[in-house]
Symmetry: C2
Subunit: 320 residues, 2 copies
Amino acid sequence: MANIKDIAKMAGVSVTTVSRVLNNQPYVSAEKKDAVRRAIENSNYQPNINAVHLSRGKTFLIGVVVPFSNHPYFGLLIEGIANEALKNNYKLVLFQTNYEESREIEALTMLKYKQIDALIICSRICEWDIINDHVSYGPIILCEDARGRKVSSTFIDHYKSFSKALEYLYQRGHKKIGYCIGRRTGANSQQRETAYKDFLMKFNERLEENFIFLECFNFEDGERVVERLINMSNPPSALLVSSDQVAAGILTCCKELNILVPDELALMGFDNQPIAKIMNITTLEVPLIEIGRRLYIQAMDNTTISHDEIQVKLIERLTV
Amino acid sequence: MANIKDIAKMAGVSVTTVSRVLNNQPYVSAEKKDAVRRAIENSNYQPNINAVHLSRGKTFLIGVVVPFSNHPYFGLLIEGIANEALKNNYKLVLFQTNYEESREIEALTMLKYKQIDALIICSRICEWDIINDHVSYGPIILCEDARGRKVSSTFIDHYKSFSKALEYLYQRGHKKIGYCIGRRTGANSQQRETAYKDFLMKFNERLEENFIFLECFNFEDGERVVERLINMSNPPSALLVSSDQVAAGILTCCKELNILVPDELALMGFDNQPIAKIMNITTLEVPLIEIGRRLYIQAMDNTTISHDEIQVKLIERLTV
């Protein structure tokens, strides 16, 4: 069976050129590419790339941990990571965890066993000690504030963002403000809860536990929120909603039930997804594709730990 | 350095058991698992899983080709594939092509070089001869009608579905029917176009080229459709929209511009995404998670070529 040297000889090029063609890398002339491809066709050469990677210690695979694949928030993050990875001939290995810890550990284990070159965790479930156990095996990058930790991160300061949004609503006359989030236990949600409590304390408002709506991830979760609202004797006058999708779902249900937005219920979303633009939802813009791009760049850096804080921007529209 | 036999000896278990634990496979007692993990911790054993896979000829990776990661249609397909893969300890390698042919060829090349065990193409760009050149390297599964081809497929008969939807609109009194699709050149779109032309011929209606709206993928594309509609002197009275997202975008813009749905414009979506339910959009249900599940099962079958036709279901709501 022909080997890479035979191919190089047949094609009249260097072994390096053959390797570049096989790995789809740039800087090879069209003529040389053709010559290599013809030589490969005429021989029975069939490289086992896993063996190539083994000798090189690189897989050109990057792991990405997300709880769901079918959510626009994670969709945009993946899109940002994938677009940058594409430029560098890296492929994404997707770990959909459904927020099960064992799935995240599997991803960390793949990093340990060198099946992927780096791991981006878009939404973490594992405790820090498990992450720490794996930092020596390759870059682990988080999409949450990991300052002071042994991993790189690109993040939004959710305490600051939530405080900014709450104060904006307060300035617009709202004192009874509730909020909607996904899972309560996530690092980002905890920052938001702290911001909420500090806000209430600052303005001498009482914490109403039923102003907090949990497990709000998708458009359809908005229905549940509105059902709860209409059964409340003293409902909030404004809702801070950690996802534009959920805000859009709430707005749609309000329109059906003739609940006036913002007069009877003000709504503020997060992310500035396309749906927020079309439905004129006031929101905090989070540049998710840019965050994805930075997460990828950090993942490719084997030597430095860095922390990129991304600023959010208030987009005033018609729901507050 | 310790090898797998040393670990087995230290743990007092068989090599097979160590292998099962390393690969996170079932049927190992908690005691044995612990013993193996302790032995690994006490040794300096660090398996290179790529070497293990090399000897075994399996990667436990399955490739999935999608044009975009951030679209609910592909999100649900990926979710269906991922949920089934999770159960079997398979991981997904995501190839986001942005509809560039070279990206799809990269995925096929990874199959050729045994970096993935199988490849699911959710939306194909390559010509059939390129696909055919790769069928000998491993299972390639398509999400389009591939009957008569050398690859397995799970698919909707888009000719039948589109015809069904068009006749439904016709029965409801609509003679001027337009449609919105993504790219015109895709296999599914071509089936739809044929169904549309056959429908017009059957009912002696003239083809109005400007009743066809292309490049409609997302919610925000609905805005463009409505802009074009309001500038038409003789607009269609009904639109068949190949994506609920786009239908939802159109409906939202119609509401803003006080265009009455369905009286002035009837809308029929595709997929029955959550947004269609909430916005009461009449649609054809496509069970995307189930399709994803079947695509995975076909991908794991190395020996048989099969073709699963999935039926769509008309969901009557308020937009027709």
